[in-house]
Symmetry: C2
Subunit: 581 residues, 2 copies
């Protein structure tokens, strides 16, 4: 009864076997994450252009739904910086931030993201996320962190800066108005950042964000700083978010579709990578498609309770794990805490300065800027460092969505272009062995006169068929034409129809020029194509060998005995013998 | 003096060494092609929506320019069916076929195609044409041939059919009006097709097109069939096309850009494939980039003499070759013949029925429909047959340009998707040898208990890094965990940063689970990445082997002597010995 049910109710996996000794850890972790989530949720909602209370709304229902339907036991779902930024970048062109139309669209967006993720999970296309490579993620994240960080400058400095995703415009506006900064706001903002940074370095588990929230609120309340111009959160309605269908119309859905797709993708990527890292530590598996279902339902059901898009975040998941979370119960405890806050403690946040929330965001995201990765890549592979930098610059100067699309496009293009000009090697025998290796890398390797052994390191397919042809023809028309060529096909993983035609042509040219063509290490999938097309028989079964050494031996024997009837160790000969064993 | 000049004046290559004995062949071939080109040129111009005379204009200057600047000696440049169809499909939405605006745009298009091809040639991006695979070309060509053929139905049947690239609409209109066909026209059209088909089968070198042109013209002239409704070519101006700058404006250039790019690409593809085939027969090389320069200049200069886009065609090149062309002089002879026709014989074409030209087009293009290729592909590789059919259907129902773009997109996508789920094999030893092969394909192959040898047939990169991880983790968490795993990396042509991170993680997991991981057949480019990243030393130099057999031997020895100090034949050990030789 258990197996089929857990497919649809993954929480049964931990609930049915719940152990009493897991309870203290789950309770403590749930509380700890709640303490973190209160200021973070409000801060990220502000980043998304939403009233801070929306961050708390998004921290109740989605958490419970994910705990029931997701496959990670430690993942802390809720508002995160990257997704909040994407929400802002997607809705700002359509509505005034903070307006009712803006809020309605953010809730609708959550429903759309949920539907897309659910669809992807049900139709098992979670593998698509594999197309985001590390350099692209790193470049994109660093640029997004910069954009997010600078977007908070106005709250820290207390000056009006027009929202923009062009970082040079933000810096320009800040420089123009640098004389007009609001000093009490700067004091709160920079002071909060200092406290956060000190605790982050010295005692990372300490709930510093809650402390700065507390200190900031007390300062405003004590000195009535709001009257002297410090921006505060202001009155927020008490009570649990009422269930309601998100405002829905065709036009809005079409307008939001591109950003919904981006958030579905980027949010899932952030979530699955942290979920997998934690799962590996505890030796359980997270299934990409089940994760999509869990996140999708969290967003979909969340949008019925006024939540904006959420996903699993890096930092809170790490805290959840360190504080002792063992099952999804921890997330349910967090959600209950936030629910109680919503019911009874919202008046407390009235005097909270926005500069404190901005400080929390800035300190959080600047930690995401990764300088080590580009340096590491530069050492290993210049082209991948270039990919990172391209993605970084495209995100910074062209915007969030173009940035990630350009990164993905360029990385795929690099893969394809690389395959069109594959690496190849002329092989020689390592003395004292039967191993054949690249003569350029192993100068001690010995070549036979009159024989060229070539290894082309690529699947043969339409985009490199001409390269292949030119490389082999060059052997034929060289000043010293060899008497035989051995093609080491160990690296040829695939042969398509275009490359097959090319190969037929090459075989014909070798015949016409009386140069023997022998093949070694041909793989099953390639041999299949050669056989069904008839090229295998045309080349001759006695010209296929299991290793380069066998091919060389055979060629040498033939040279001595012109009858050509020597017992070569061709594939066919070996298999005949082997079946007699 | 010769070498550097021929770079810019390729014709010097044949002119400076011109042999008297080549002259008769060149003359005969030039005349033969001219005889073919007169009706074909007019027919293809009609297909392009242009007055027939434009086909002759395009058969003078471009031929001479190509003969001087191209690298093929037999290629017959001029109007061809595919490019003419593309011209029609691109300009019809912008102007009324046959109108002055339409003609001006066709000439401008030729200039744009020329400029693009020249640019591609100068910047050496001719390799881009490699991205068109055989199945895509075959599917596209067959569909385009059908569209071209059916577009001529109105001329054969003598009924008005609205131009359309949706073949079902053409057939529908024809069926609706089937009772209104113009019988004299049908007689001429079907009769011409019958004559052409008979000669095509029985005597392919016979100039049947010229015969049907002659017969059709005589029939109209003798029986005054034009008065009873047979559509004729009508009055055409005599004289050589006057040089003039094509009408140029920014808006027109932008509108024509997509079709100009398509024609540059498709035209070049048709030309280079036939040029390469012929060059291979005569043992000279054509350079893709020089060909682009030659064709580009032919189109660019042609557009100054009222030519519409041209390229090298299949059929006329074959005739040129068979009739004895040895150098570019043959094309110059052809151009002179056409020039003389333009100067003195245009009145002769007044009574030529359009049905004859339509018959010439239909017979020519239906020969391009290739049924053997899909059947052949179906036998070798279903996925490539599917690719052909997708391209065919997309071209037929969505149009010429979407068809070719979808074909290219799908073929690249197939390549990428295939690489994300690579083929892999568990290896065993073939009895009596040191060869290790896929145990599924070679049931006689023997496996060692406690040892798994796996070969993953792909470059490791971001899109398949997760596949790789899951495949190797499955070995670790199998019910019977092996004591050692040998990864045969002979097929791994490349390792990117994302896959490297994954590999680091896998190595860690193997260590934690006390399963030895040995690597065999690691290639130079992969070893470089492993070394610079430090993973090579982490894994240990003594765990890299030149062959699976060496790795197995070493593992077996270690099992017996737990000291681990046995003289294994690792890469390092072998190289040390080899350098002592």
């Amino acid at each position: 009864m258990k197996i089929p049910l857990t497919q649809y109710m993954p929480f049964l996996r931990w609930l049915l076997r719940y152990r009493r000794e897991d309870l203290p850890g789950d309770l403590q972790a749930g509380l700890t994450v709640a303490v973190m989530l209160i200021p973070q949720g409000m801060a990220y909602a502000m980043l998304a252009g939403l009233p801070p209370i929306m961050g708390l709304y998004a921290s109740v229902v989605p958490l419970i739904v994910y705990a029931l339907m997701g496959s990670s036991r430690q993942l802390a779902v809720g508002p995160v910086a990257m997704v909040s930024l994407l929400v802002a970048s997607g809705i700002e062109p359509l509505a005034e931030p903070g307006s009712s139309a803006y809020i309605q669209r953010a809730i609708l967006l959550s429903g759309m993201v949920g539907a897309i993720q659910l669809f992807m999970g049900v139709f098992r296309v979670g593998f698509l996320v594999n197309f985001l490579s590390h350099p692209v993620i790193s470049g994109f994240t660093s640029a997004a962190a910069l954009i997010i960080g600078f977007s908070q400058l106005k709250h820290i400095l207390g000056i009006p800066i027009e929202r923009s995703h062009h970082i040079h415009r933000i810096i320009g506006q800040a420089l123009v108005q640098i004389g007009d900064v609001h000093w009490p706001t700067v004091l709160i903002g920079v002071g909060s950042m200092a406290i956060l940074l000190i605790f982050k370095r010295k005692r990372p588990t300490f709930p510093a964000p809650l402390i700065v929230v507390l200190l900031g609120t007390l300062a405003v309340w004590g000195f009535r700083l709001d009257e002297s111009g410090v921006q505060i959160v202001g009155a927020i309605p008490a009570g649990f978010p009422a269930p309601a269908l998100p405002g829905f119309n065709r036009e809005a859905v079409i307008q939001l579709l591109p950003i919904a797709l981006t958030i579905s993708f980027v949010g899932f990527m952030e979530s699955i990578s942290v979920a997998k890292a934690i799962a590996a530590r505890y030796r359980y598996t997270v299934d990409a498609n089940q994760e999509l279902v869990g996140l999708g339902l969290a967003n979909l059901v969340g949008s019925l309770f006024q939540a904006y898009p959420v996903t699993g975040g890096f930092s809170r998941t790490a805290v959840n794990d360190q504080a002792g979370a063992r099952t999804g119960l921890a997330s349910i405890v967090t959600a209950i805490c936030i629910g109680l806050i919503l019911l009874f403690f919202t008046p407390f946040f009235h005097d909270l300065p926005r500069a404190v929330l901005a400080a929390i965001i800035m300190v959080a995201v600047f930690g995401l800027i990764d300088l080590r990765e580009p340096i590491h890549l530069w050492r290993i592979k210049r082209s991948e460092a270039a990919l990172l930098i391209i993605t970084f610059l495209a995100t910074l100067f062209l915007g969030i969505e173009p940035g990630i699309l350009i990164g993905m496009g360029v990385s795929l293009l690099m893969f394809i272009v690389r395959s069109t000009r594959p690496h190849y090697a002329i092989l020689g025998r390592l003395p004292g062995t039967s191993h054949y290796r690249n003569v350029e890398r192993f100068p001690e390797a010995v070549q036979e006169p009159g024989l060229v052994i070539i290894r082309i390191d690529a699947s043969f397919y339409f985009a490199n068929a001409n390269f292949l042809r030119e490389r082999l023809e060059r052997l034929l028309y060289a000043s010293q034409r060899p008497r035989a060529v051995i093609l080491d096909a160990s690296s040829v993983n695939y042969l398509d129809a275009t490359a097959l035609e090319t190969l037929v042509d090459i075989v014909r040219q070798f015949e016409e020029n009386n140069v023997a063509l022998l093949l070694a290490n041909v793989k099953g999938p390639v041999r299949d194509v050669l056989k069904t097309s008839g090229l295998y028989n045309r080349i001759g079964a006695d010209r296929f060998f299991f290793s380069v050494a066998d091919a060389v031996d055979c060629w040498k024997q033939k040279g001595k005995q012109p009858s050509g009837e020597t017992p070569c160790r061709s594939e066919a000969a070996i298999l005949e013998k082997a079946s007699a064993f």
